[in-house]
Amino acid sequence: MILNPLSVAILLIGLLTLLLAALQTGFALKLHASLGPSPTPDLRTAVEEQTHLMLTLAVVLLTMRMLAWPLFYATLQSFVPDIPGAMCIYGVTQALPTLSGALQVLKPIGFFLSGLWLLLYALNRAAKTAPLFRRNLALLAGVSAFLAADALGDLFYFLTLTPRQEVTCCTLITDLPTRASAVVPRTLLGAEFDHPLLSLYFAAQTLLAGGIGLALFRHAETSPARRAGEGALALGGAAALGIAAIAFIEIIAPRLMGLPFHHDLYCFIQYVPDGSLMLVLPLLGLFALLWAASLERLGRHEETASHLKRYTRRLWGLALLAFVASPLMVAVHFLVDRWLGGT
């Protein structure tokens, strides 16, 4: 175990999450079962009174868990001087590669699920008779179980990670000519793919932002058309994120780091202060589109119709902001670099 303020914080949050999320899962499942498919108004009121504290606690817990995602990476970064051979977060992740890989996949999923539950909870509260209460409980049970597993993974990972093992440096893996992020654009765009890929990145982000803007101005009134639009935007968001990921690894990160042959995103967030923001914004944009599409399916009820429309528009607004901001920041970096006579 490596002890520093960040690892202590993440261990405490993990322990607290594990205990509370496990309790919450059991409690939510029990209440969900006791309500049945069509509960009487009296039974529902009685259950709602019991859950007030639990739901407030869930809001705090899920928000805290969403913040645990950046904390996870900050903690890994703080371990770099302690792991022999590690020069960035990549090296630290190689000390326990399978577990760290799994946690890196679980974290964004947990962030998405937590956000979805918080939105559904807020939508339910905005309605007069809380019509989504049962659905809310079912989702809370699932999300809590997921977060408990994630927290257990955090505890196991940070308690077993020791500085004894020599690890490989990122340059030995990420800069291989046969890396997937180089093979895909080379196959599709040719050997000199730098300029076409960069153009494709800016075009994809602009097109998607245009699509979201169009949806915001011409919001479809009928449910099937709205759902089709949301589905199309979510698919477009996923495609734009994929293109952004390849463009960042192959061109943007090496240029902004001033290391033209180095393709590691962990080094990128270490060397470029706003690198993590540039990477997270498109992901947040995709999450906002997916949240809107999921809410349309989970939160549909005659009482929530007007609120749902408002929520969808706000989420699209967030997605638009995220998909515009990231390429804007990249463009500003390129301009400043050119102005200062850099690459």
Partner: protein
């Protein structure tokens, strides 16, 4: 429905400002980078190697310098390491070395007393010159 532009535009302007500040800061620090891993090198942690051809390579740790030298086997004219106490550069062959048990990072010291104090404090161990003896290192052009 009314669309509000003010808040998103302010946020975009803030993010653009953050990006320009970050770009300026990154460009300003593009001076000295580790020749092995590209990390920025603090002046008090810089290991400087001058090859017999007159090329200067800077590293941020002894491990980086060792790995770089393993790959290239350069002829060395001079090699300085930073004293772990003062940060002042000292000749690598004149320094004494020790490593702590936790990080395994090798540190260089100008004085034996400083090394002993570090070893007592960290419960680490003294190590031989990681770059080898001067006669082994220096290669004639």
């Amino acid at each position: 429905m009314e669309i509000r532009y003010k808040t998103p535009l302010i946020l975009l302007a803030i993010l653009a400002l953050v990006a320009s500040g970050s770009a300026y800061w990154t460009a300003a620090r593009k001076g000295e980078r580790c020749a092995f891993d590209g990390a920025f090198v603090r002046p008090t942690a810089a290991i400087r190697l001058t090859t017999v051809e007159g090329m200067v390579a800077v590293f941020d740790s002894i491990a980086c310098a060792q790995r770089w030298m393993q790959n290239r086997q350069p002829g060395i004219r001079s090699l300085t390491v930073p004293d772990a106490v003062s940060g002042q550069p000292i000749d690598a062959s004149a320094a004494v070395y020790g490593k702590g048990p936790a990080s395994g990072r090798i540190r260089a010291f100008a004085r034996e007393e400083d090394l002993e104090q570090f070893l007592r404090w960290s419960k680490g161990e003294a190590v031989a010159n990681p770059f080898g003896a001067p006669t082994e290192r220096v290669t004639s052009p």
